[in-house]
Every structure is written in structure tokens, then in C-alpha cells.
């Protein structure tokens, strides 16, 4: 039945009226489509909330003299993510057809422009989104894209030039993220090999993590962090904000993993949310036991990282492993993340928020864990995927950062770093009313 534009707008009102069936009989398929689409939009909203989580986490774990800069970067990233995804990312990640053997395909610049892009909501507009509308598909995936760049912003915080970061984020999220994403979720060569990354341990978290690693390496540590062979911690200025950030990220993960089911299938969505939460909890316990033993006192920021480590770890296989396995994966991630944070400090790779440890180290672990704990997927294939993404993401991030470094420069001057990026880059303060501790 051909739906005209006007009747399409009236349909939602008809759905809402619980009373007798409307004149146009509602098929079961159309009802299911609406249910699926609604859940996917809720999931989109939840993933969006993760940006607030990242913002709080980063602000909390860095110095107050750089807070404006962090907030500015996080606000810009969501904009850059959504817009580049609309202009080029979406069609690069989901090309439909590949022009270079499963490696590269591009369905053209821009997305559909108006409602006429989806005339019949009961039908799929492509094989990518069979249960929901083209618009839902775009927006849900766009929210994922932006999170990949946010991961980088925490690791390079407190010393990267604002403009340099924004240029990097635009290129990396605009081009690299969707290109490598197409290899799996777009139906490319890794998908054909049987590589499995349910919600993005590799595609989102390790892709962000590799870029964070490249950035940290090329930037160098913050001033005063590593002096005379000793590590001088630079504490974050607000653990309450960091905690709020962690909880908001977990909150958003309900959509990150729950929505990656790509339908409202009650069994699968509820199962995935259980494995997700179990892994997060196990991550906290794993990190707690590790930090309590190794550091004599349990470090709160480590258990925050532990929760996120568990979440990243389960993200590759939340749909494919048992609940018991999810607990193990999460616990191991919680242990790994603590040691990873300590290791990076000891090799003088300064990561203020532990982004590399949470997203790269545990992203790799989570991806490989699918091969270990799921009978349906092979460890070898998972390893190939990890290496392929690592090679491409690390190399491209390193290249982009290097070009930026030799052209406009990557790092702020020493004086600007001491004054704080809020004053040097933004000429404003985050806490003008507060008496903040300024000796270090």
C-alpha cells in the first residue's frame, strides 16, 4: 500500500490510540517495526549520553586549570562526529557495495535529505537496517562514531593544542573510523572471514585506543610528570565528577550494547544487557582486588577504570558468550587495566585518564576473548582482526598526528601548559569563583 506523505505523519497518532483498529489495518510486521525502531532510538539516546559521561570523567581526572579546554573538546567532538558521519562517514562505513575487495567502498557523499528518503517505514531501505528506519540507522551509528574520537581526547589532555586536536579528530573520525568499520559492520573482508565484534571492542574502542597511543607517544608527557626517574602523579581535581562520568558511561552502555542487537528482540537484548552489567561488575571487583593488593589502599579511580574495562571487554562478545564467561572476561579486564595503567606510567607514556588502558588494552582483550569463550568464533580470526585494525588504525593515527606535528604543531608551549589551557587557549576560567590549589 503506497503511503502518501500526509498519512505517514498521521500514522504515529493512530499507533498511539489504543482503541479500535484504525481504518488502515496495522499488520503485525508494521507493529514490530515500530517497536524495533523505538528501541533503537532509545539506544541512540543512551549512546549520546555517553558523551556526557566522557566529559565528566575527563574533567574529573584532570586539573581544574584545563577544564574549559576539556569541555570545549568534548562538545566539539560530538558535532564533528555527527556532521562528518553525515557528510562522508555513514556511506563509507556502510557502502552497500565494495569497490576494492571488501576493503573500501563508498556510497557517495551526504545522506538522504528529507522525509521522502524513507517513504514506507514498513520496509527496509537497505540490507543494513531491516528492523528500523534509515534515519534511525544513521543516527545510532553516528553516535558511535563520535565516541571513537572522545577516547583520544582524554589521553592527550592538558597539553595538546586545541586546533591540532580538532583537525586530528575530524580526519580520524571522518575517514579512518568509518573505513575500518566497513571491514566488519559494513560487510567487508573481516566480516566475510567470520570476525566478530558485537558492539565495537575493536571497531570503536581499540580504534580510539590506537589513536590515543599514537597521540600520547608523539605529544610526550605532561610537564613534571616524569622527573629524575620518578613518577610524579598529577591528580585529577574532582573524583565526584569522575565517578559521575563512569556511571553515565555505564548507563549509556545499555544503549551501546543493547542497541547493537539492532532490534528489540526481547531475548537477545535482555541477555546482552545482563552480560554487559555482569562484566562491568566483575571489572570493578577485578580492579578492586588488584589495586587493594598492589597499592595497599584501594584506589577509587582504578575501580572506575575497572568498570569501564569490564564494559569494553564484553563489548565484542556480549551476545556470544555465557554469563559466566562475561564475568570472567570482565574480571580479567579489571585486573589488566590496573596493570596496564601502571605499565604505561613506567614507560613514560602519560595518559591522564587511563584511556589507552581501558579502551586499547581491554578492547584487544575483549575481542580475543570472543575467540576464547565462544564456540562460534575462532581465536585465530579474532587475532587477525585485532592485528589488522591495529596496523591500520595505529599507522594512520601516527601519520595524521605526525603531519600535524610538523605543520601546525601538536603541543602547547611550556608556559601555556603551566598557566593552564583554559587561560592560554580559551582566555577564560572554569572556576572563577573558587580558590583552587595552584601549587604543584
Amino acid at each position: 500500500m503506497q503511503l502518501s506523505r500526509k498519512s505517514f505523519l498521521i500514522l504515529p497518532l493512530l499507533y498511539v490510540a489504543v482503541a479500535p483498529a484504525p481504518a488502515a489495518a496495522q499488520t503485525a510486521a508494521e507493529a514490530m517495526f515500530t517497536v524495533n525502531n523505538t528501541w533503537m532510538l532509545v539506544a541512540t539516546l543512551l549512546v549520546f549520553m555517553m558523551h556526557l559521561g566522557f566529559a565528566f570523567l575527563e574533567v574529573g581526572l584532570t586539573q581544574s586549570k584545563n577544564t574549559v579546554n576539556i569541555l570545549f573538546k568534548n562538545t566539539s567532538i560530538i558535532a564533528i562526529g555527527l556532521l562528518t558521519y553525515a557528510i562522508v562517514g555513514f556511506n563509507l562505513m556502510y557502502p552497500g557495495e565494495f569497490s576494492i575487495g571488501g576493503f573500501f567502498g563508498f556510497a557517495g557523499f551526504g545522506i538522504e535529505s528529507d522525509l521522502a528518503g524513507v517513504t514506507n517505514p514498513a520496509l527496509a531501505s537497505s540490507e543494513y537496517n531491516e528492523g528500523y528506519t534509515y534515519w534511525t540507522d544513521f543516527l545510532f551509528q553516528a553516535m558511535f562514531a563520535a565516541t571513537a574520537a572522545t577516547i583520544v581526547s582524554g589521553a592527550v589532555a592538558e597539553r595538546i593544542k586545541l586546533a591540532s586536536f580538532l583537525v586530528f579528530a575530524t580526519l580520524y573520525v571522518g575517514l579512518v573510523y568509518p573505513l575500518v568499520g566497513s571491514w566488519t559492520w559494513g560487510g567487508g573482508w573481516l566480516d566475510e572471514m567470520g570476525f566478530h565484534d558485537f558492539a565495537g571492542s575493536t571497531l570503536v574502542h581499540s580504534v580510539g585506543g590506537w589513536a590515543a597511543l599514537a597521540g600520547v607517544f608523539l605529544l610526550g608527557p605532561r610537564l613534571g610528570k616524569y622527573v629524575n626517574g620518578r613518577i610524579h602523579p598529577i591528580p585529577g581535581h574532582s573524583l565526584p565528577l569522575a565517578a559521575a562520568g563512569m556511571f553515565l558511561l555505564w548507563f549509556g552502555w545499555f544503549g551501546f550494547n543493547g542497541g547493537s542487537v539492532l532490534s528489540a528482540d526481547p531475548g537477545l537484548v535482555s541477555f546482552v544487557l545482563v552480560t554487559t552489567c555482569i562484566a562491568a561488575s566483575a571489572g570493578i571487583i577485578g580492579a578492586m582486588l588488584t589495586t587493594w593488593t598492589v597499592h595497599k589502599h584501594p584506589d577509587a579511580s582504578m575501580v572506575f577504570n575497572g568498570a569501564l574495562a569490564g564494559l569494553v571487554g564484553i563489548t565484542a562478545g556480549a551476545d556470544a558468550v555465557s554469563v559466566m564467561s562475561a564475568a570472567i572476561i570482565g574480571a580479567v579486564a579489571g585486573v589488566i587495566v590496573v596493570f596496564s595503567v601502571m605499565l604505561f606510567d613506567r614507560i613514560k607514556m602519560d595518559d591522564p585518564v587511563g584511556a589507552i588502558s581501558v579502551h586499547l588494552t581491554c578492547g584487544i582483550w575483549g575481542t580475543l576473548a570472543v575467540g576464547i569463550f565462544s564456540p562460534d568464533y575462532s581465536f585465530g580470526t579474532q587475532l587477525i582482526g585485532v592485528l589488522a585494525y591495529g596496523a591500520f588504525a595505529a599507522t594512520s593515527a601516527f601519520l595524521i598526528f605526525s603531519v600535524i606535528k610538523v605543520t601546525i604543531g601538536l603541543r602547547v608551549s611550556e608556559e601555556d601548559e603551566r598557566r593552564g589551557l583554559d587561560l592560554s587557549e580559551h582566555n577564560m576560567e572554569a572556576y572563577p569563583d573558587y580558590q583552587i590549589m595552584i601549587t604543584r
Partner: protein, 113 residues
Amino acid sequence: MKLVIAYIQPAAFHNVKQALTDVGVGRMSVANAQGVGQQGGYTESYRGSELEIVLRKKVRLEIAVNDDFVERTREAIIKGARTGNFGDGVIFVVELAECYRIRTGESGSPAVG
């Protein structure tokens, strides 16, 4: 006995502390302060307008010393804090009439340390 009061740039504190330690001055009181001298204030921007900032952030050190320590304390602070730019700070040396250690009840020079 003298009380050496110094106002320095926050960024200089680390070096000043190190320099003081090097000459054997390890006891001090440190506080955040705001102040302005020859350096003057500066402007920030906020929502399209300029914001005059008249006071700059400073760190105040208060160090009680015996008379024979005044010179090395002063030299150490200068060594740690001098950059040659406006805003390096200022040192006041005032007479300290009495000094008591709370824990032991000592007074006078021994209490200063």
C-alpha cells in the same frame, strides 16, 4: 627571630621549595593568595565581553627563621622564584617577637628550628 613573608608566582613554588630545602630551611607555611603589583592585571573573555581580572593568583610563604638564617632564606627564595619578568614577587622580613612550639612548649630560638 624574623618572619620571612614571600609572595611568589604559583609556578615558582616547586623551585623555591627545592632551593629552601637545599639550604636547610624545611619548615614553612604556604597559602593561596591573590595580589597585584607592577605586573598589573589582565583580561579574560566571557560570552562576547572582556572580563577585567585585577588580581593575579599568588602563593604566600611564611617562614619563621632565626636571624642567622634570614640571608640564606632570602637568597633561596630569590634563586627559586626570579625569572626576570614582572610578577616575580616580593619578600618581606618582619620582626618575630615570640615563638612557641605547641607540642613541647619550647619558646624562642629553639622553637623556630
